[in-house]
Structure formats: C-alpha cells, structure tokens
Point group: C2
C-alpha cells in the first residue's frame, strides 16, 4: 500500500524549493489537504518553525496546508493521524537522532506501509533505506543506531556525484566511499543524482527524473539504470 | 611530553605517498628505528597487510622500518612498547570502530601523552580531536561512541575544502556542515587544508605548511590563521 516519492534533493540549481517536483507532488498528495512536515533534519541548523514556514510557502503553490510535527503535543499520534507526510532534508544524523528520541521510527514505518503518502528529500530519503550508513552528512550528533525505516530494501545515497577527474583534492569520491561501505555491508546502494527520485507505489519502485542512477551491489561492478527502470528486485 | 604531526592528508596531488612530509617525519622519528603502523582505517577497503606494505615503502626513504599492529598478538602492548606510532587515513568510522573493539583508545592516548612520537594523516588525524563528529567520511560502520582521543582540545576537519561558488551541486559545503556541528557542540574546529598539518610539541600546537587554516568557533564568524600560528589557546 506504499505511496512515496524518495527524492535525491529538494532543490535543483537555479530553481525554487521543491519546484521541479511540484507536478508530481500534486499527484502524490491529491487526496490530502494538509501535510505533516517533519523538520528534524534542520539544514544549516534552521529552527523547526522557520523550516516549516519555508515548506508551507512551497506547498501553497499546489494549495496544500503544511503543519509542523513540533506543533503537536504528541508527535507519535501526529504521524498516525497524518493525511500525508513530508520529511525534509538537512543533516541525516540530526534527523535520525530526533526520530529515535521521540520513538517515531516504528510508527513512521507502519503508517507509510499502510498507505499514507510520503515525500522524502535528501536526509528524508536517506531514512527510507535500511540504514543511514550511506549518507554524505557530517555526524554532528550520535544517534542510538544507524538503522533507518527500511521502507525500501536497499540503501540510498542522495546527491550522488560522479568522480571529478579534474579535481586535485585527495578526499575520497562517493564511489570509493560506497565501495568501503560494501566491505562491511551487503545491501545494494542506489546513488541518486540531483533531479532523480524513486516513485514507490505498492510493491513497485521506479526511477524517475531525466537522469540515470548508479547502482552499487557488493562484489559487482557498479552500473547505471535509466529513468523508468523498475527496481523492486534490488535487495 | 607530546610530539605529534597531525596532517590533513597523506598525499598531495601529483606527489607520492607522504612525500611532502618526509623531511619533517625524519625529524619527528629521529630517535626511532621502527614505527608501529595502525592500518585500521583501510582506505578503499585495502587489507591491513597491503596497507602496511604501502607505508613501509614510503618510510624506507627515510630508513625507518614499519611494523603493522595486526602482526602483534596483543595490540595493546604493541602500542605501549612502540618507539613511534603512525595512524594512517581511510575511513574514520572504521578506524574508531576497530580502536574501540580492541580497547585501544586509553592506551593510545596515554602512550602519546607520554612522548611516543605520533603521526596521523586524515582519519588518523581526526581521532586526535575530541570527537569524530567533524569527519568527512561515510558512516559505513557504527562505532560504540564518536568520542576520540582528545589529544588536542578541539575537533579537526581534515581535507578542508573551501566552498566552490561555481558548483551547481546542492549538497552542503564543509562550512555549512561545520556550522551544523556548532548547533549541537561547543568545541572549536580547525579546518586543515591539504598540505597543512599541526605540529604538537609538549603544550604547543603550531600550524605548519604553506596554507592558512580555517577556525570555526561556536557563535563566532569563521576566521583564517596563518602558518606558524600557535593554537594552544584554542579550546
């Protein structure tokens, strides 16, 4: 019964917040008038209220009201009763830390599994994978676990960037980092480039957007999949 | 009694492994004929033995023998008895995980505090700070804590990169990430660019190399310090 958009990023270069996704979001949220927003990832440390305000402005363009989870007395029942859910980007460690602190992982998983429409961007997409071990973020807080919701049966690397052969910088490329991941973990990883997203509908997981995505499986050479590919066998 | 080189990177673009540091390493290790190498960070998942082999070749140029900690029956006494210690780069989470697994954090701290010369590069530098919460690495394994040795009283961000104003990529810059860190943590962070290192000698911590370093303190604008700056008041 799942109905999700799991997006690499909220924002494309030169375009407004969520703008490139608005047509698809109007479809995803067609039966919802109000969206529960979870601002826990706090990009640049922005407050929950300021982040919610920013998201509200974007959703006004498709006539949706937005309510921040921080305004509810009980965040657990807020998720249970939500018409629709959006988990925004920011720092994945901060997001997961706060979800665990409020004991929200099981209810989020159950609610989305039961069909409540879900949008995730960046950190909000990372937590849809099995673990956050393929996040790009800085570990500024220590969550009680790296396990995430597992709403899709693999790991996600949002903002996936191809190696830059012109770089003189000696830090690791994302491909190298994901290879390190596979020395210690078996699950596949999908590198979602900015502008790509996964549309999850019941048991189907389809790559959307104009770009290809890069799939990393343990003990296999990485490969590209084109937009429109069904990914539900990836596990 | 400390005597340490804490380097942003092992390798500069276009130059061999450790090459730019060899003169300073000959000084640091002048009284040591054998260096204990800790290869736990495993860059690209390389084996402990292969990594040790690579390091041995570099140190042959200054006539030092290298022995990997994995060849000792008891890694704890290997550290205690070492003439000199080098912790190489790779993945900081993998490194810290293995140090905790072998219960080596306290003995490493004590041994280096007592004067055993220490070289760290990249991940091996990160663990010299208070925590690894300012690493750039991917959290591919879950260590029991993010606390590190605290051999210097602040945090380190190795491979520090300035924001690229030409980038169309929407992922966070390092400066943004470190600002997020300071929403949740109070300690200063030093962004060490590739080619910079800290020379720690007793109570002195001096920035070395040709470049400036960027200092981030909570509730303060970030600022640059020039090579030669004494940083022992930064805490």
């Amino acid at each position: 019964m799942k109905n999700m958009i799991i997006a690499s990023t909220s924002t494309l270069h030169g375009s407004g917040y969520l703008e490139y996704l608005l047509d698809d979001l109007a479809m995803l949220f067609k039966d919802s008038s109000e969206i529960l927003f979870i601002p826990y990832a706090r990009p640049s440390g922005i407050s929950h209220d300021d982040y919610t305000e920013k998201v509200s402005e974007a959703f006004l363009k498709i006539n949706k009201q937005v309510k921040g989870i921080q305004t509810f007395e009980n965040p657990l029942t807020a998720i249970k009763n939500a018409e629709a859910i959006f988990v925004g980007g920011g720092n994945t460690f901060v997001l997961l830390y706060q979800l665990y602190k409020n004991n929200l992982i099981p209810v989020l998983k159950e609610t989305v599994n039961n069909g409540t429409p879900y949008l995730g961007t960046s950190a909000g997409s990372n937590i849809c994978g099995l673990t956050i071990k393929t996040t790009n973020d800085m570990p500024v807080v220590y969550p009680p676990s790296f396990n995430a919701t597992g709403l899709v049966p693999f790991n996600i690397n949002p903002h996936y960037l191809d190696p830059d052969s012109n770089s003189r910088h000696m830090g690791e490329t994302k491909e190298t980092r994901i290879k390190e991941f596979h020395h210690f973990n078996t699950q596949p990883v999908i590198g979602l480039r900015e502008g790509s997203w996964l549309h999850v509908k019941n048991n189907s997981i389809i790559l959307k957007g104009n770009l290809t995505a890069r799939i990393f499986e343990q003990n296999k050479a990485a490969y590209e999949v084109v937009s429109g590919t069904e990914l539900n066998t990836l596990k």
